[in-house]
């Protein structure tokens, strides 16, 4: 009996929640850096 990576299984095409989070954060960082989002208050 062997444990193996599932190359035979189709790869999931959806992006993980981690990756989405990084994409959103980087997008916001770019918007802030180039002045499209300014003075975000709290």
């Amino acid at each position: 009996m062997a444990v193996q990576e599932s190359e035979a299984k189709p790869r999931s095409r959806t992006i993980s929640i981690d990756t989405w989070a990084v994409i959103l954060a980087l997008l916001l960082a770019v918007l802030v850096r180039f002045g499209l989002l300014k003075h975000i208050g709290w």
């Binding site: 444990v3 989070a21 802030v32 989002l37 975000i40």
Partner: protein
């Protein structure tokens, strides 16, 4: 006959965002509403007490958001229409963590990260050993014990989900382990901050303790924020260091269970580690690198930090909404008792480690 158990690449549904974004709107709106209500409550009470010269302890928006979420979850309940959106609290948490990277210079990350890593490695070994021992004493199934050990040593629910597939555990065992870890995370929210204040811990030491002692990332950040903003920042860093170890521990358990069940491990371990590695840790380090290279001005860093706080606001509302006592009760007492005994011991051990590390590293 040689058979193979497959470490599947597909991750559970809760780790992904649904493509139907409209389905997320009601739940995200509820998270926003609860978070904003928490913020308004904190500000209103603070204004009222100041105006009337009353001396009452300030209850932070974090606690209000969690309490309001808990109140809804345990009284009227959460209607099905809200659930997909509420599940995004983890997405907001991770986005917030990445954005918070702007508040750290890479040198700080390396210094505190090294201290955290030292504590995390010791905590890992001790908590895995302790949970395994407790699982045997309380006669829990070996795989449930493994899941509890993974959940308590690394990063709570995410680690349990990752390990479940790798060791081929039953759904029921994973549910037990997740319920125990969540219940204990909820408990930590109400015990860690008073203990930290009682011991007069500094923001840095308390943040390190919350990040290494509380299992689930959302609860670790909330426990930090309940102490202070600065403590939340350090808790995020410590917890992120801990999260980075997930692949190694899950791989270790996959190898252990393969050997125990007479299987052999095939496939690239490096690829397995990469798949299990939480990518938001890289995002956090990248933003921190940009901040260190002065890519952002002071005002821009302040804006990014505030965006991170908004993201955490939604997370804290989600933490409260997820606490459901009826659901926890259904899972039975034994995994909870094992988890509780283990967690109390781990919290004590990490507290000791943090205090010692604080003296050595001068934190």
């Amino acid at each position: 006959m040689a058979t193979s158990t497959v470490l599947t690449r597909t991750e559970p549904q809760r780790q992904r965002l649904p493509w139907n974004l409209l389905a997320l709107v009601p739940g995200v709106a509820l998270l926003t509403l609860i978070g904003m209500a928490g913020k308004v409550l904190e500000q209103s009470i603070s204004r009222y007490t100041k105006a009337h010269h009353l001396v009452v302890p300030n209850i932070e928006y974090v606690l209000w958001a969690i309490l309001l979420g808990m109140l809804i979850s345990n009284t009227v309940g959460v209607a099905r229409v809200f659930r997909p959106g509420i599940a995004t609290y983890e997405f907001w948490l991770k986005s917030g963590i990445v954005l918070l990277g702007a508040r750290f210079l890479l040198g700080d990350v390396l210094k505190l990260g090294t201290v955290s890593l030292g504590i995390v490695v010791i905590e890992l070994v001790l908590s895995i050993g302790l949970m395994t021992l407790l699982g045997r004493i309380f006669k829990l199934s070996p795989k449930l014990t493994s899941l509890l050990a993974v959940g308590s040593s690394i990063c709570g629910v995410s680690a349990i989900i990752a390990a479940k597939g790798a060791i081929d555990a039953e759904d029921e065992d994973a549910s037990f382990a997740i319920a125990a870890i969540l219940a204990l995370g909820a408990l930590a929210l109400f015990t860690f901050p008073p203990i930290g204040h009682w011991l007069h811990m500094s923001d840095r030491l308390y943040g390190l303790w919350a990040g290494t002692g509380v299992d689930n990332t959302a609860e670790a950040v909330a426990a930090g924020a309940l102490f202070s903003d600065a403590a939340a920042k350090i808790a995020v860093l410590a917890k992120t260091t801990r999260n980075a170890m997930i692949g190694f521990v899950v791989l270790g358990y996959a190898i252990y269970w393969s050997a125990r069940e007479g299987r052999t491990v095939e496939g690239s371990k490096a690829s397995f580690l990469w798949k299990k590695f939480p990518k938001f840790v890289l995002g956090f380090l990248f933003i921190s690198l940009l901040a260190s290279l002065q890519f952002f001005s002071r005002d821009q860093i302040s804006s990014l930090a505030n965006l991170s706080r908004w993201a955490f606001l939604l997370t804290f509302a989600g933490v409260g909404l997820r606490i459901n006592f009826r659901e926890m009760k259904k899972q039975g007492l034994r995994p909870f008792v094992v988890g509780a005994v283990g967690e109390v011991a781990i919290a004590g051990i990490t507290l000791g480690l943090v205090l010692v590390a604080g003296r050595i590293a001068g934190l």
